[in-house]
């Protein structure tokens, strides 16, 4: 399926570099792996994601189970041993004696969960509206694109803040805000590539076969609009993680009972000035590593998938 998509997408443009691989997918992957930084980014991201998924089973404590916390261990610097269990706190503890490594594992889960769920919903809504707009054109198109233009003329953070100020804190509400902020980017991306594709002969051919609109839109048109969508999605996922962290840092994002990385950083912020840097710095490093890794992958994907740069 993916091979097919990329095969039709690659027809018009010459390959990035001739390699022995035959299918366009293999060619794109080969081109991607030529860049050392992008591969490092991908490896780092996979490691971080794996840590977020299996974290709760490998870290020493559940940081939100009060029975496992010992106030005696509060504010320990990295590498200290626990007074109660004798275990080592590799990244130190916060005021309540919470192991920062465990807190980061749980925080990472929430950050990535919010980002990926909102990504999925925003893509579904954005792509559907974008394809519909370009396929039907006319009034539907101008209505949808007016909304997109209007929304994109305001900064994402402002729109998200408005929503959260009205709705209150909560993981589900942050996801909703991110979906509303992000769908417009996908709609615009898909529309701009679909509008070129709609004029091509294979769409006319599909129309002549009297296929249903839905089938033409989602089985014929959409697969040919995927490459730019992948690039925008990698940029947007980094943006989503960053925006969620910012909102939580400002105290309007996730609730205190389910802290993401942004909220962990905010909690440690007060101790930063008094020298207990680890409570804030380590969640920050986890956040930054995630975002930079995704951006490195995205940068390379943009070069590999951009037909203008292919020579």
């Amino acid at each position: 399926m993916t091979g097919e998509i990329l095969a039709t997408g690659g027809e018009s443009a010459a390959p990035l570099r001739r390699t022995k691989a035959d299918s366009p997918l293999k060619r794109i992957l080969a081109a991607f792996f030529e860049d050392r930084l992008a591969v490092i980014g991908l490896v780092v991201f996979v490691l971080i994601a794996a840590f977020a998924v299996i974290g709760p089973w490998i870290v020493p404590q559940n940081p939100y189970d009060l029975a496992q916390l010992d106030i005696m261990d509060g504010g320990l610097p990295p590498g200290e041993t626990s007074f109660s269990t004798g275990g080592t706190y590799w990244l130190g503890t916060d005021e309540q004696g919470r192991d920062m490594l465990s807190a980061i594992a749980y925080g990472l889960r929430i950050s990535l969960l919010v980002a990926f769920v909102s990504l999925g919903c925003a893509i579904t809504i954005g792509v559907t509206l974008g394809v519909v707009a370009s396929y039907f054109g006319g009034r539907i198109d101008s209505l949808i694109m007016r909304v997109v233009d209007l929304q994109l003329s305001f900064p994402a953070i402002l729109i998200a803040l408005i929503l959260l100020a009205l709705l209150g804190r909560g993981v589900d509400k942050v996801i909703l805000a991110l979906v509303i902020v992000q769908w417009a980017y996908y709609a615009r991306t898909v529309r701009s590539s679909a509008i070129v594709e709609t004029r091509k002969d294979y769409i006319d051919a599909a129309r002549c076969l009297a296929l249903s609109h839905r089938r033409i839109m989602f089985r014929h048109l959409l697969p040919n609009c995927v490459p730019p969508l992948i690039v925008v999605a990698t940029v947007q996922i980094a943006q989503a993680i960053s925006l969620e962290a910012t909102l939580s840092f400002l105290g309007v994002g996730v609730p205190i009972t389910e802290p993401s990385l942004g909220l962990l950083i905010a909690n440690g912020y007060d101790y930063l000035l008094s020298g207990r840097y680890w409570v804030s710095i380590f969640p920050g490093i986890a956040l930054v590593a995630t975002i930079v890794a995704i951006n490195l992958v995205g940068d390379r994907l943009r070069d590999v998938l951009n037909p203008r740069l292919q020579k």
Binding site: S153, F154, P155, A245, G284, I291, D299
Partner: protein, 325 residues
């Protein structure tokens, strides 16, 4: 030109109306407006009086007309916390935010353009590559995190600059500004740099891409062939031609700077509109939130309008294609 101007103003008015409607629906239609608009500590008779005054017993469309009418008169309700008109309180904080945004904008141009031109002239050199790597970091690191690192390095570890607040201010044209006193300038530097970093990365990338394009043009080759010094070619011929896109993009970005100032102001305890918004959200001071949103929407729409119109003066192709389209 007049057709274009009218069209553009019309679009801006529609944008403001749509946002006003959304804010109205958000406050009045989602949930009970009595809870939203009336101070939770008000007594029963106060509640009844406010309901009657705001017309909350009337149907929704009438309420909307009342909201629009009083908004047009500059009345967006009284703040719960301060007990004064919300618009006045925000306007008092407005100069601090604008000062921060304008200084940040200046910094991003003054630092960003030379770095971008340098990276564009020598894209393969170590310096050029590190400038680009730095700009990727400026893009990817969240704003609040950059601010915290600045505080950690310059205020906590080195102790060179204060970590927050606005410092000493002086009165200029009825507005209090920081940048004219030494103390104020010290307080301003870190937050302005924090707000500037993201835009600076943008300017670096724009300047670099445009420089690379411009240096291959015939007029630059001709200038070199005439025997002009490299310095003159870069400062006059190249710089002039890369400034148009840079200035346009930055004009449009000024609006988003006002919004991003929310983060910077919170990190640095800078007493501007953005910090006021976050404080109001935490204190559930809803009239202030509504007033902030409406004013910010107004500011952003106005900036976009002014930049678009100015740009169409500079580049006639824009307005011609708009009128045709």
């Amino acid at each position: 030109m007049i057709v274009y101007l009218m069209r553009r103003i019309g679009q801006s008015l529609v944008a403001i109306m749509v946002m006003a409607t959304l804010v109205f629906l958000g406050v009045y239609a989602i949930g009970n407006p009595v809870d939203v608009l009336i101070n939770p500590e008000a007594t029963q008779s106060e509640i009844a009086a406010t309901i009657a005054r705001l017309g909350l017993d009337k149907p929704l469309w009438q309420q909307f007309l009342i909201f629009v009418k009083s908004a047009l008169q500059g009345d967006l309700g009284n703040s719960f916390v301060y007990g004064r008109p919300a618009v006045d309180i925000i306007l008092e904080r407005f100069p601090a935010t604008m000062e921060l945004a304008l200084v940040a904008l200046t910094l991003s141009v003054v630092i960003g353009v030379p770095l971008g031109v340098y990276a564009g002239l020598k894209p393969e050199s170590i310096g050029g590559r590190s400038v680009m790597a730095g700009s990727i970091l400026g893009f990817s690191l969240p704003n609040f995190w950059q601010g915290m690192l600045l505080i950690l390095i310059f205020a906590v570890l080195l102790g060179w600059l204060p970590a927050g607040g606005r410092g000493e201010t002086v009165q200029v044209l009825g507005m209090r500004v920081s940048f004219l006193t030494w103390d104020g300038l010290q307080h301003l530097l870190l937050p302005a740099l924090n707000l500037a970093l993201f835009k600076m990365s943008l300017v670096i990338r724009l300047a670099r891409a445009n420089t690379r394009e411009v240096v291959t043009q015939d007029y630059v080759k001709f200038a070199r062939a005439k025997g002009l010094s490299t310095r003159r070619v870069v400062l006059v011929h190249v710089l002039k031609n890369i400034m148009i896109p840079v200035v346009t993009i930055l004009g449009l970005e000024l609006g988003s700077m006002v919004a991003f100032a929310i983060v910077t102001e919170t990190v640095f305890a800078w007493p501007g509109m953005g910090k006021l918004l976050i404080d109001s959200i935490k204190l559930l001071d809803r009239p202030l939130i509504v007033a902030y949103l409406m004013l910010t929407v107004l500011i952003i729409v106005t900036i976009n309008l002014v930049v678009d119109v100015l740009y169409s003066f500079l580049d006639p192709r824009i307005r011609l294609s708009e009128v045709k389209g």
